[in-house]
């Protein structure tokens, strides 16, 4: 019994300590942001390695999610004789929910884990220490550009996901199921509101990009410098950022759509 209480206590203390370190880390990154602006080339290179390399998986996933949405939406809508509304249903689901959330989950698995592993290995092989000894601040040279790159890439990837998803819906809805092509897009235009729907999705994807990049870069920096430590940190990145994305999605959705 005492043991159980003690372990709960220890767990809470550890969790608080991690949260404290992660917050300090974020503050240091903010302090290093001027370096990101001054040497934007470094960040652009990271946008390539973090963002561009995630494009393929995001596009393929977006296409399939869009196609499945069209099938499922059609089955429901056709019973009500409202099959023309398909475009709106597909677009709203993608832009509001699936685009930001699924992209963030894929991003955590593809780019986040890679970032953590890369940084963890740099730490383990003393590359970060070596940089410090060469009077190069790793926050300015390594952490901040990666964080900013992840943060910038996420909304763009989410937009891509939604755009490709709409095409996927078009292929299935118009191509296979015979919905009218003009109705597909005009319905979409009619029901999608710029502020209400598109911007809420963009805000979500910005928040998710921030959180996933923060977790990934922090886990890499905080990894125990052993091969086991790196693998644990990588897993942690995927698990923690996926849970954070789902939890935040619930909260953000409640805040944005709960009132009306």
């Amino acid at each position: 019994m005492i043991d159980a209480i003690a372990s709960v206590g220890r767990f809470s203390l550890d969790a608080l300590a991690v949260l404290g370190r992660a917050s300090m880390f974020l503050l240091r990154i903010f302090a290093a942001l001027d370096a990101v602006v001054r040497r934007f080339g470094l960040t652009v290179w990271q946008v390539y390695s973090v963002g561009v390399r995630s494009v393929l998986i995001v596009v393929v996933a977006g296409l399939f999610v869009g196609m499945v949405l069209a099938y499922q939406g059609y089955i429901t809508l056709v019973d009500f004789g409202a099959a023309e509304a398909l475009g709106g249903v597909v677009a709203l689901s993608l832009v509001r929910e699936l685009g930001p959330v699924v992209t963030a989950l894929l991003f955590a698995g593809r780019a986040g884990s890679a970032l953590t592993a890369e940084l963890g290995l740099m730490k383990t092989t003393e590359q970060l220490s070596a940089m410090e000894m060469m009077a190069v601040n790793p926050y300015r040279r390594v952490f901040a550009p990666r964080f900013v790159a992840g943060f910038l890439s996420m909304p763009l990837l989410a937009a891509m996901f939604s755009a490709v998803g709409v095409m996927g819906g078009y292929i299935v809805g118009v191509g296979l199921l015979g919905v009218d092509s003009g109705a597909y897009f005009s319905q979409m235009q009619a029901v999608t509101d710029w502020n209400e729907d598109v911007m809420s999705g963009v805000i979500k994807s910005i928040v998710f990009g921030f959180v996933v990049s923060w977790i990934a870069v922090f886990q890499g920096m905080d990894a125990t410098p052993t091969s086991e430590g790196i693998s644990r940190a990588t897993t942690q990145t995927v698990v923690v950022s996926s849970l954070a994305v789902l939890g935040l999605d619930f909260i953000l959705t409640g805040l944005m759509f709960g009132g009306n």
Binding site: M122, T125, Q127, S129, A130, M133, M134
Partner: protein
């Protein structure tokens, strides 16, 4: 007093106020005074004092786990002392602002045992890294400088290789070229000889001596390879149990042969330095384990 032989060779670094050039050759480059440092509950240094003379090769020797790597990290400002002072060029390392510390680090090089090359950059870019970070040199001058450094360690032809393609000895030589890129005044080597074959070892020994003499810099070496270290150094410090137990020129040390240095230099397993990491007695540990199994 300026050091005339170094004029013109030094790369100018913005914000680098050269304190040492005004210091006389007689003052020690590094002074460690009554240093205390612990890891968790384990004291690593318990009143360590030593001096590193300017422009010479100094070797710090001590048994494994005696804190030699820790000492280099303390000197480099990556760790802070719990008590006592470390002065490099008269500046107290533990108390500098980050900005000042980075300025001091531009004038020192540290060679990690593994080389610690940046794995996503080629050999050339690794050596160019500190120059790109701290100077605004035009590309052709930078290229010349990097090739000069690589030539000095005999690896000019390996410039396009990736660090993963290098052998351990080659990686250490590239790391040396990189550490010399900014023309530091102080260079520290962590175990430069371990895991090398005799030929590569000879090359590294020659390189260390040659860089020390031709560039006039202060070299600090951490090692437990007694023969190489003795042959290469002008000054030797022996540390054990958190203190400096003996210091002086190598031959004086060998002649004096206090209990401790005799044990270390001749490699006897018994003596004042215990073979076992301190802890509960063997008997207690065995009995304890037995007791638990019966519960």
């Amino acid at each position: 007093m300026h050091a005339p032989r170094r004029e013109g060779r030094r790369v100018r670094i913005p914000g680098d106020s050269n304190v040492s050039q005004s210091a006389s050759a007689e003052t020690p480059h590094i002074v460690v005074e009554d240093l205390h440092f612990r890891r968790g509950r384990k004291p690593i240094f318990d009143g360590l004092s030593l001096e590193v003379p300017r422009g010479r090769v100094t070797t710090v020797m001590g048994p494994s786990g005696s804190g030699k790597t820790t000492l280099l990290r303390l000197i480099g400002g990556q760790l802070r002392p719990d008590a006592g002072r470390i002065l490099v060029d008269g500046e107290e390392i533990g108390r500098l602002s980050t900005r000042r510390l980075y300025a001091v680090r531009k004038r020192m090089g540290l060679l990690f045992q593994t080389g610690a090359l940046l794995t996503d950059l080629s050999v050339f870019e690794n050596v160019a890294f500190p120059l790109r970070e701290h100077t605004e040199l035009p590309e052709d001058i930078l290229r010349t400088l990097v090739l000069m450094k690589l030539e000095a360690v005999g690896l000019r032809a390996a410039r396009d290789m990736d660090p993963a393609e290098l052998s351990g000895g080659m990686a250490r030589r590239v790391a040396l070229a990189r550490a010399l890129a900014l023309d530091p005044e102080l260079i520290m080597y962590d175990e430069p000889f371990t895991g090398l074959d005799p030929i590569t070892m000879g090359q590294i020994v020659t390189l260390i001596r040659r860089t020390n003499h031709s560039l006039g810099l202060t070299s600090v070496l951490v090692s437990h390879d007694v023969n190489e270290a003795m042959s290469i150094s002008d000054h030797v410090v022996l540390i054990a149990e958190g203190r400096a137990v003996d210091a002086g020129p190598p031959d004086a040390l060998q002649a004096r042969a206090s209990d401790w240095s005799a044990q270390f230099l001749e490699g006897r397993p018994d003596g004042p330095v215990p073979f076992h990491y301190p802890g509960a007695s063997y008997q207690d540990d065995l009995l304890d384990a037995g007791g638990r199994n019966h519960d």
